[in-house]
């Protein structure tokens, strides 16, 4: 049953890679990369059971964190063109409801 789950996760990852390649906008690609990272977490977890070593779950845990931080970092870079320069952010037309603007170091 772990083999079937692994094959299904690999199929989903290949579908996400297809969307990543043909995505018309950059947000499709970011979405596909985020989904690919989540499927990588699941693949690491299931693969640990498949080969009999569930110790890989630590790696999956760390990958889940890095995936989220990477997605937010790419989106912030796309929106502001930088990571920590808040003075240039204030000059742009940014709505106040965005919670991405107050995450950078001052």
């Amino acid at each position: 049953m772990f083999t079937a789950t692994t094959i299904a996760i690999l199929l989903t990852m290949s579908l996400a890679i297809a969307r990543m390649c043909i995505g018309p906008t950059i947000y499709d690609r970011v979405l596909a990369v985020n989904m690919f990272g989540t499927k990588t977490v699941l693949l690491i977890a299931v693969l640990g059971y498949l080969i009999g070593r569930p110790d890989f779950l630590d790696i999956a845990l760390v990958y889940a964190l890095i995936n989220f931080i990477g997605t937010i970092a790419v989106l912030k870079f796309l929106r502001y063109g930088g990571f920590g320069d808040t003075h240039e952010m204030d000059t742009q037309d940014v709505d106040d409801k965005s919670n991405l603007s107050d995450g950078g170091p001052q």
Binding site: T5, T38, L42, L75, L78
Partner: protein, 115 residues
């Protein structure tokens, strides 16, 4: 008891795999960024949740289960947050959701072409 445990594990893993593949097909086939977010959300919540639940039931009450629950909690927090961030960034960059009339115009102009 062992049979019931195995049945629960099988059903959870296979249903989670089915949801993951359905979400992947949705990400590939749906016409818009905002609708593709729906497909990605299915794989992040139902697919990951059911697969991790199946693994946890298979394992029993050990330290491995605690790690699986931690992964599930991280995914259940970060998946809506990243989906919201993608939608917010796409919306603030001027990308508008595709309406039904846009879809009909596109289908009539180039029939059979995938967006």
């Amino acid at each position: 008891m062992e049979v019931a445990n195995s049945i629960i594990v099988w059903a959870s893993l296979l249903t989670g795999s089915l949801f993951a593949v359905i979400g992947g097909i949705g990400v590939l086939r749906l016409p818009d960024v905002y609708t593709r977010l729906h497909g990605a959300g299915i794989t992040d919540t139902m697919g990951a949740g059911l697969i991790l639940f199946g693994l946890a039931v298979h394992e029993g009450f050990t330290l491995i289960t605690v790690k699986l629950v931690l992964i599930f909690i991280f995914l259940i927090i970060t998946s809506p947050a990243s989906s919201n961030a993608v939608a917010n960034a796409a919306h603030s960059s001027g990308l508008r959701p595709m309406l039904d009339s846009d879809l009909k115009n596109k289908a009539s102009s180039n029939s059979g072409a995938r967006s």
